[in-house]
């Protein structure tokens, strides 16, 4: 709720959240540094990737590569990070299944989480702003880390999940609730970890993916990895674009038939909703002196999208045209020194983002004038040192120190409102993991944080894991933590309206759960049930006043409780491999009263945009290279009012979304080609994610993946 308010405030006063640049010229760094031999072919491939990867895809598969390949078959992948012997007790980790990652490689992180997790995704439409919230909290309470550095905007504190392509990531893990304390503070809802890991294959690896879909959608992706046992490089380049002009009957507007008086609903296209996203990610890993591992990651992304008007719009077609454009450079350096009993890590990251958002109107048929033209630049620097020491086989100690620095400079050149502010953030971290006997382990974490000299109260965490039975098939786990979310920079400084007197949001999160991972032959099975309780005070809400002036206040007190359940089954029957996976979440996230002014009718009611029930299901069957996957996700109704009153007009009714994927993989010598047809919204249902925005009906995507 809070973010909507903020978004609205932006619209009126001219803000950055959606940004655009008018010229569509894309500029990329010309030289990609790659370590494999630079033949003319490579040169061409890189130079033109942006133009059309497809041609190269065909070219690659037929002509060029069979001769160029090394003669070895692929070696099983070795993860860089060895599995921890002692894990943080009580930690709840929901790792996205590798099969899901493969099936959904061509989508955005928002689509993946929407279909395969119980994290709630609020999407403004296909390709548009999508935010994620855990367990009935706010989108700004979800932290996202990429290789250890935060992807949250220092201005809004949230992440647009539509802007993160899944194919760039090798692993995605979710840490709901108190579990997020291991990653950082402030994530009252939970955190999401994205990792780009390299393998240590001593050979060239190539992956080309081309997807063509409805509404002129083209996704192209190329990954080249190469290296030795000591040095690895991975280069990923990509480009996604879509006209996104799906047709729909707009029943929110009507013309009146002059004869019969009947309403004529226009068949419209989702105009001004095109998007494009392109970029490059380069990763290097070095191993040296036996105990050092150095990783470097660089990610550049250029994104541009038009923001469609609501489906009730019947104004001037040349007015209210908005575009958002963003450029982001992100770099991470991660050095690890492995000792016998200790490990020292240094993680440094730099993120530079430049976003602009523009709303234009054609004035008096002559010129386009900006009604909003907001440019926001932010620079974030992340520095972290982590030292872990294994005192014994039973005790692991960890200390860490973070220093983060943020600079935000934002200005709307029309209203000439903006701010230029710095933030310095020091954090210290201490963790003690202790094993008692063979079945019980506990963890204690303490965090302390200072923001621009403001001391945030101590953040403590306690968690335990207890194997109920001797075979360790049943695991009881629990945790509890206090957490604080310091206001984001827009909350404090936004002009007009930012409130420098805001207090940190204060959260208490706890959970208790049971996992069952039996040791069955031939059948992989796991199930879990976790009950959670979260209490958030001083929840920041942006409140409007007449004439469109918004200001944030520490208003809401929210108690969220419920449970998550999941079950997964892997089974092989003859030559048929089956994966069945289901998740369900029950979330009562209730308003428990508000400081100062607030209607009592909202107390005890579900927080807007949090569904009480959400579920997902996936069935995947593989046979002789064929695969058939059925992906289903469901949400119960969401409310748009604090009092949970709904009229049919603004009812976000429950929906049950079904997607079907059919694929076939063919191997040819050392390479493989997978053809996959994805049918989204299989039953061509009407559904609503937010008010006033149409969603596409049944649509198709054909994905070709060539792998070497």
């Amino acid at each position: 709720m809070r973010r909507h308010a903020q978004i609205r405030g932006k619209w009126l006063a001219g803000r950055w959240l959606y940004c655009v640049r008018n010229d569509d010229g894309l500029h990329y760094p010309v030289n990609f540094h790659i370590t494999i031999s630079k033949t003319y072919f490579w040169y061409l491939l890189f130079k033109n990737w942006n133009v059309n990867l497809t041609l190269f895809f065909l070219f690659l598969s037929t002509v060029a590569f069979p001769q160029m390949l090394p003669d070895t078959l692929s070696i099983p992948e070795v993860e860089i990070h060895t599995a921890k012997k002692l894990k943080t007790a009580g930690l709840q980790v929901e790792k996205v299944d590798s099969l899901v990652m493969m099936r959904e490689a061509d989508v955005s992180l928002s689509d993946l989480l929407n279909a395969h997790s119980t994290v709630f995704i609020k999407s403004e439409g296909r390709g548009a702003l999508a935010t994620a919230s855990f367990r009935g909290t706010d989108a700004s309470h979800t932290a996202v880390y990429w290789n250890g550095i935060s992807l949250n905007s220092p201005m809004l504190g949230q992440v647009d999940f539509s802007q993160i392509p899944v194919y760039l990531m090798n692993s995605i893990s979710l840490h709901p609730g108190a579990s997020s304390i291991v990653d950082g503070s402030g994530s009252l809802g939970g955190s999401i970890l994205l990792n780009t890991a390299l393998n240590w294959k001593k050979q060239l690896g190539i992956k080309v993916m081309s997807a063509y879909g409805s509404y002129r959608t083209f996704n192209n992706y190329l990954n080249i990895s190469a290296g030795t046992a000591r040095f690895q490089s991975s280069t990923q380049v990509y480009s996604n674009r879509s006209k996104n002009d799906f047709p729909f009957y707009n029943k929110n507007i009507a013309d009146i038939d002059p004869v019969t008086g009947a309403y004529i609903y226009p068949l419209q296209k989702n105009k001004f909703a095109n998007y494009q996203l392109s970029g490059v990610m380069q990763s290097f890993a070095f191993r040296f002196k036996k105990q050092y591992l150095l990783q470097l990651h660089y990610w550049f992304q250029n994104s541009s999208r038009s923001l469609p008007r609501l489906n009730t719009y019947e104004g001037d077609d040349y007015a209210n045209r908005s575009r958002q454009h963003s450029l982001a450079h992100r770099a991470v350096l991660h050095l690890i020194r492995f000792g016998k009993k200790s490990r020292l890590e240094w993680n440094a990251g730099l993120v530079a983002e430049n976003m602009d958002y523009r709303v234009q109107n054609l004035i008096l048929g002559k010129d386009y004038y900006n009604a909003v033209y907001s440019v926001s630049k932010s620079l974030s620097s992340y520095n972290k040192i982590i030292y872990r020491y294994q005192l014994s086989g039973r005790t692991l100690l960890k200390v860490a120190y973070d220093f983060n620095f943020y600079h935000v400079n934002t200005l709307d050149s029309v209203s000439q409102n903006g701010y230029n502010r710095f933030r310095r953030n020091h954090r210290v971290f201490f963790s003690w993991q202790q094993q008692f006997g063979t079945r019980l382990s506990t963890s204690v974490i303490l965090r302390k944080e200072w923001v621009n000299g403001f001391s945030i109260p101590l953040i403590p965490y306690f968690g335990f894991d207890w194997s109920v039975d001797k075979k360790k098939q049943w695991l009881l786990h629990g945790n509890i933590a206090r957490n604080y979310h310091y206001p984001d920079m827009n909350d404090l400084y936004w002009q007009p309206g930012g409130n420098p007197d805001l207090k940190p949001e204060e959260g208490l999160a706890s959970e208790l759960g049971m996992k069952f991972i039996p040791d069955w032959k031939k059948v992989g099975f796991q199930a879990g049930l976790t009950a959670f309780y979260q209490d958030i005070r001083n929840w920041i809400l942006w409140m409007p006043s007449p004439m469109g002036y918004w200001t944030p206040e520490n208003i809401r007190h929210v108690i969220a409780r419920g449970f998550d359940a999941h079950v997964q089954l892997n089974v092989q029957i003859n030559k048929v491999s089956v994966l069945l996976k289901a998740g369900y979440s029950f979330t009562k996230s209730q308003n428990d009263g508000n400081a100062g002014r607030w209607g009592t009718d909202a107390i005890g009611k579900q927080i807007p945009y949090v569904p009480v029930h959400s579920g997902n299901f996936m069935a995947d069957v593989r046979w002789k290279g064929f695969n058939l996957s059925w992906v289903n996700n469901d949400y119960s109704e969401r409310f748009t009012t604090s009092t949970n009153e709904n009229s049919l007009r603004d009812w976000l009714y429950p929906y049950f979304m079904n997607n079907l994927y059919v694929g076939k993989k063919v191997r040819w010598k050392r390479s493989s080609l997978r053809v996959q047809l994805k049918i989204y919204n299989l039953f061509n249902e009407d559904y609503r994610s937010v008010l006033g925005r149409p969603m596409p009906g049944r649509n198709y995507l054909l994905v070709l993946t060539y792998k070497l």
């Binding site: 609205r8 619209w11 006063a13 029943k251 929110n252 009507a254 009146i256 309403y263 609501l310 009730t312 719009y313 019947e314 104004g315 001037d316 007015a319 109107n361 004035i363 008096l364 004038y369 900006n370 009604a371 029309v414 209203s415 000439q416 409102n417 701010y419 002009q495 007009p496 409007p544 006043s545 007449p546 002036y549 206040e553 029957i573 002014r597 209607g599 009718d601 909202a602 807007p608 299901f617 069935a619 059925w630 289903n632 748009t640 009012t641 604090s642 009153e645 009229s647 049919l648 007009r649 603004d650 009812w651 429950p654 929906y655 049950f656 079904n658 039953f683 249902e685 009407d686 937010v690």
Partner: protein, 371 residues
């Protein structure tokens, strides 16, 4: 074993097939509201949340106390749109200006039926009827006032009010008041002008400088134009000035008196005249929502020599959003938007500020239209 699992799978598939297939048409399959109201009525325009498209219209009968919410949707199965801003009644037709949908919906005031629309605006705010073939529509961003023909429901022209600077969207137009052949409109957004349009030539002929951000105007019995300025936003480059009430002689177009609000946080709005046109009513508040001393509804006689010191109705922990005065009874209509994401309250007071009635309208009740 294998067979059973297969059957299981089929069952699950069937379950999903049956549980799905949502169709939006079901939402329009309800008994439409069929009414006929010829009596005295108050229409409450609820602007709804920006970018939600959940504006609505509430009907209130002050005699019987009858309230009907969502009358436009319940009669027509069409949403009103995004940010319904103002409404005017001409004969039996209501013209509802839907700001962020760029259109004006036309509704029969007796049976609430949707009868037509005027489309193609940029950011329309108010409508002013001049004669049966001409009306003006003010606009926040268009830098022009649209001329429409209410008969043909077409935009017939534009009055250029652009001051040709690229700064701050100047000039916007908000409320419009007719005075003889001239129309006064206030340029609110990052502006400080009252613009004067000659309705015979449809041209901008004059302007008057007032305090920053004039948000509302009213004409009194002495042909004095009163303008309430909120002073702008703190921290803006355009600058924040003291909020002020300005008295202008409508004939000479001269500023006669400026009353400055003492509190630098004050941002009053909603200037309205009583039926006798001898008292001014306005909401005294601050942008920072209720964080100002003595917030509430204020009354000032047109002959008073200074601003009133105390509210006639205190805001307390409410959030007064809009003000309307019934031109026939003089009753005061105040809306409380509460938390802005639930149906707001409307409080009805007598001329002596005695609470007569209260009701729940739609989300953010923002304007009143009296018949």
């Amino acid at each position: 074993m294998k067979n059973r699992k297969f059957k299981c799978l089929i069952f699950i598939v069937l379950m999903a097939l049956l549980s799905s297939c949502m169709n939006d048409d079901a939402l329009r399959d309800f008994h439409r509201l069929v009414v006929r109201h010829d009596e005295k009525a108050v229409f409450i325009v609820n602007e709804g949340n920006f970018m939600y498209g959940n504006a609505s219209l509430t009907f209130y009968n002050p005699k019987s106390g009858e309230v009907q919410n969502d009358i436009f949707y319940n009669t027509n199965a069409l949403p009103l749109g995004d940010v319904a801003y103002s409404m005017q009644i001409r004969d039996s037709l209501a013209y509802i200006v839907v700001n962020n949908s760029g259109k004006i919906y036309i509704m029969n005031v007796n049976n609430f039926r949707y009868v037509g629309k005027i489309t193609g605006f940029t950011s329309p705010r108010h409508i002013l009827f001049l004669n049966s073939h001409k009306a003006y529509v003010s606009d926040l961003y268009a830098r022009s006032i649209s001329i429409i023909d209410p008969e043909t429901r077409q935009i017939t022209g534009k009055i250029d009010i652009d001051d040709h600077t690229h700064d701050f969207n100047r000039h916007s137009s908000e409320q419009m008041i007719r005075f003889g052949d001239f129309v006064f409109t206030n340029s609110w957004s990052y502006d400080n002008k009252i613009l004067i349009i000659d309705s015979r030539t449809d041209r901008l002929v004059d302007s008057i400088t007032v305090a920053k951000q004039p948000n509302s105007m009213a004409l009194d019995k002495n042909n004095k134009l009163w303008v309430l300025s909120d002073g702008g936003f703190q921290g803006s480059k355009y600058g924040r000035a003291m909020a002020a009430l300005t008295r202008i002689d409508a004939n000479s177009r001269k500023v006669e008196k400026v009353f400055l609000f003492a509190d630098s946080l004050a941002s009053p709005n909603g200037l309205t005249m009583n039926p006798a046109l001898d008292s001014l009513y306005f909401l005294y508040n601050s942008w920072a929502g209720g964080k100002i001393a003595r917030a509430g509804l204020y009354v000032m006689a047109v002959n008073d020599l200074q601003l009133p010191g105390e509210p006639v109705i205190s805001q307390n922990n409410r959030m007064f959003y809009a003000l309307g005065i019934d031109p026939s009874s003089g009753h005061i209509y105040l809306s409380d938007a509460i938390d802005f994401v639930q149906r707001g309250k409307v409080l009805i007071y007598s001329q002596r500020s005695v609470l007569l009635d209260s009701l729940r309208a739609g989300i953010i009740p923002s304007a009143f239209c009296f018949r």
